[in-house]
């Protein structure tokens, strides 16, 4: 097992390096160099006096050198000093701010929402799939198949808008942001906590829906396979009650592969969370990416892409290790 984990960790290195190259390409993708709009601004503000500052910035980011020569200082800075570069846009009040500070502020909430969504997806998907499989072609099965199809077909932002509208007209809650206006900047209290949860419900549902539909389909198919096997019939013949037949063996077998879905669930959740965060104004890395892109704040934007990808890779690694641990059929030598 230790060897398996070690080997996976070694595999991680080239993957992450390649991801970092792609992220760096993103930073350098816009036409003109990354500083040009900042240089313009500085010149307008300070006139020729800004020249020295501009020169310092150019040397700092190696803009007098070709792209590949700039990559190395950047990646070395990240690895050795967690220096992701500077955010140039004034979107966060301060003109120049280390990217790592902005990311650190928002990483926790991003991970929280993603983990909650993952949890919600499984908790909701498993009973639905088991029920649909056990009572195949029942009304519930058809209703859910329909909902799943619609969920898969609806753009995330549309679902977010509709749910926001629904919640607003039915409960009078005006969602958006992490807290309602009366709790912003207040110390934690029970009321604030409830408010926090309330603002989490819609994003979690919105982000989870698309993935849930797929998981239900996979799980339902595996369940149907398992239910047709001899051991299920034997159990029934022995007189084991139906719920016990269902939940003891077939469900266990069918659930295991679900752990491996983290690999594609995470990119999907991150993708969904970006759009949802923008619509619902949630302070996640997704929103940061969006504002950074709009302001052409490319070091920040590229770092966001990097963080998302690295989180995905780590999540996949964890899921593979868990799977190897719990599924006796997987040999990891």
């Amino acid at each position: 097992m230790a060897v398996y984990i070690l080997r996976r960790l070694v595999y991680l290195i080239p993957t992450v390096l390649l991801i970092s190259i792609i992220s760096f390409a993103v930073i350098n993708a816009p036409p003109g160099d990354i500083l040009s709009s900042q240089v313009q601004e500085l010149e307008q503000q300070y006139g020729p006096a800004a020249q020295r500052q501009i020169e310092a910035l150019r040397t700092r980011y190696g803009l007098d050198q070709p792209v590949y020569m700039r990559y190395f200082p950047w990646i070395v800075g990240i690895i050795t000093r967690l220096d992701f570069g500077m955010s140039f846009s004034g979107a966060y009040g301060i003109e120049f701010r280390p990217v790592v500070d902005i990311l650190a502020e928002r990483l926790g909430y991003t991970v929280l929402i993603s983990v909650l969504t993952l949890g919600f997806t499984w908790v909701a998907a498993i009973p639905i799939a088991v029920y649909s499989a056990a009572w195949q072609r029942s009304v519930f099965d058809y209703v859910f198949t329909f909902i799943a199809f619609v969920g898969r077909s609806m753009p995330n932002f549309l679902l977010a808008l509709l749910l926001m509208y629904f919640v607003y007209t039915n409960f009078g809650w005006s969602l958006g942001g992490m807290f309602s206006s009366e709790y912003v900047g207040q110390p934690w209290s029970w009321g604030r906590f409830v408010d926090f949860l309330r603002n989490l419900v819609v994003p979690v549902i919105v982000i989870g829906t698309a993935g849930m539909a797929t998981i239900v389909r996979v799980l339902r198919a595996t369940m149907l396979d398992e239910l047709g096997k001899d051991y299920v019939q034997t159990a029934r013949a022995k007189g084991v009650p139906e719920w016990k037949v269902l939940w003891t063996h077939p469900v266990k077998v069918a659930i295991l592969p679900i752990v491996s879905t983290i690999g594609w669930m995470l990119p999907m959740i991150f993708s969904g969370s970006v759009i949802t965060a923008i619509v619902l104004n949630l302070p996640t890395i997704g929103l940061t990416l969006y504002t950074a892109l709009r302001a052409q704040d490319m070091y920040l934007a590229g770092s966001c892409v990097l963080v998302f990808s690295v989180l995905t890779v780590i999540g996949t690694l964890i899921s593979d290790i868990i799977l190897a641990k719990i599924d006796p059929r997987i040999r990891y030598d």
């Binding site: 816009p30 077909s153 753009p155 995330n156 932002f157 549309l158 966001c304």
Partner: protein, 373 residues
């Protein structure tokens, strides 16, 4: 001898030998939802991609009053009289004294029967044929805005129909490019094998581990602002397909690898068939159906991606009319709660994507020879 030959010909056709495609089609037609999806798509592509100028009552930039609410097509008037020709009511304006907003309500005294095949605002069909013939309209003085109007007073219904031309083709073009990339790279990976295969697979894994929307957003944001609408359209298409080819490449690779070992390929190699012949005659036809299934399921993802990007203002930009651009008018809760009809183009997105998913699922079931039903 000749006669004999004919007899065998006819008897062979009677013993029902069908090509693979006929078999797939036969299975496909058994899938009711998939058939419905196919019909819906055919209708939408006909209306929205081929003849939007004819089917839309107005041109996309014709302006009326801002935020007119949708009209209902009616057969019964306020007195309960039945009209064979459907009609719409006009609007009456009222100023809400509390909010200082103009409120439009249906005016039951103004009845505008809907006319078909009328002369409306002139247009150029496909940029060449001048015409003014529109599918429907109302008489002078009336306004036909079935799904209301947006902030600039443009008819949402007409704009939605025009938007389909962009939104429904972007998926097709994007998938075309994905197909090219996927076949080439997947093919190389599967045929060459070894270190090349390994490198390509690792590369695909890396691309797949990057969440698509952030990557799309970042790439789309790099499209220069001063580019023309057409350039942006192709840039976005290429960006969408650059990320989307990986799944296809994997399918192609795995098929190449599994088919390579088959007896009929060995036999072909045995009688010295060229590599090109083997690929084009033996390998490709055998997995083409899988490729088609994969493509059909990739189109809706691209349509959704375009919609999302344009909604965020990172994809296509006005004056281009796409479904995402239309939806970007409804950014926040305030707008949505006051003018919910701005979300109607979203329903079109859902219908199109749903239809593609049904067709894709139907094709997948039909193309799988191991599934008996």
């Amino acid at each position: 001898m000749r006669q004999n030959n004919e007899v065998t010909e006819t008897s062979r056709s009677e013993t029902v030998s069908r090509t693979q495609w006929q078999l797939i089609w036969r299975q496909f037609t058994k899938h009711r939802l998939a058939l419905i999806g196919l019909v819906v798509l055919a209708v939408l592509y006909f209306i929205g991609v081929l003849f939007p100028e004819f089917f839309a009552p107005h041109s996309p930039n014709e302006r009326f009053e801002s935020y007119l609410p949708p009209q209902r097509i009616r057969f019964f008037d306020a007195d309960g009289n039945f009209h064979l020709r459907p009609f719409v009511y006009g609007w009456q304006e009222e100023l809400d004294m509390a909010t200082w907003r103009t409120i439009y309500t249906p005016d039951e005294t103004e009845i505008y029967p809907i006319q078909f095949f009328v002369q409306g605002t002139p247009y150029r069909l496909w940029g060449t044929f001048e015409s003014g013939l529109r599918f429907m309209g109302v008489e002078e003085g009336g306004r036909l805005c079935l799904w209301g109007t947006d902030n600039l007073g443009r008819d949402v219904f007409s704009r939605t129909i025009y938007a389909m031309r962009i939104s429904l083709t972007i998926g097709l073009v994007g998938v075309g490019i994905s197909l090219l990339l996927g076949l080439t790279i997947g093919g190389i990976s599967g045929l060459v094998g070894g270190a090349v295969d390994n490198a390509i697979q690792r590369f695909i894994e890396v691309i797949m581990s990057i969440p698509t929307i952030p990557l799309w957003m970042a790439l789309a944001a790099a499209v220069p602002r001063q580019w023309s609408a057409l350039q942006v359209y192709f840039a976005i298409t290429i960006i969408l397909s650059f990320v989307g080819w990986t799944g296809l490449a994997r399918v192609v690779r795995s098929k190449f690898i599994s088919l390579r070992e088959m007896d009929f390929v060995m036999a072909a190699q045995g009688y010295n068939a060229s590599q090109t012949t083997i690929i084009s005659q033996h390998l490709v036809p055998n997995f083409l159906s899988y490729v088609f299934v994969n493509l059909t399921l990739a189109i809706p993802d691209m349509i959704l991606a375009e919609t999302a990007l344009s909604f965020l203002g990172l994809g296509l930009r006005p004056p281009v009319v796409s479904l995402g651009v239309l939806l970007s008018r409804a950014q926040d809760l305030r707008t949505v709660s006051m003018h919910p009809w701005l979300l109607i183009p979203g329903a079109v997105v859902v219908i199109v994507v749903l239809a593609f998913n049904f067709v894709g699922d139907g094709l997948r079931d039909a193309a799988d020879p191991y599934q008996l039903s």
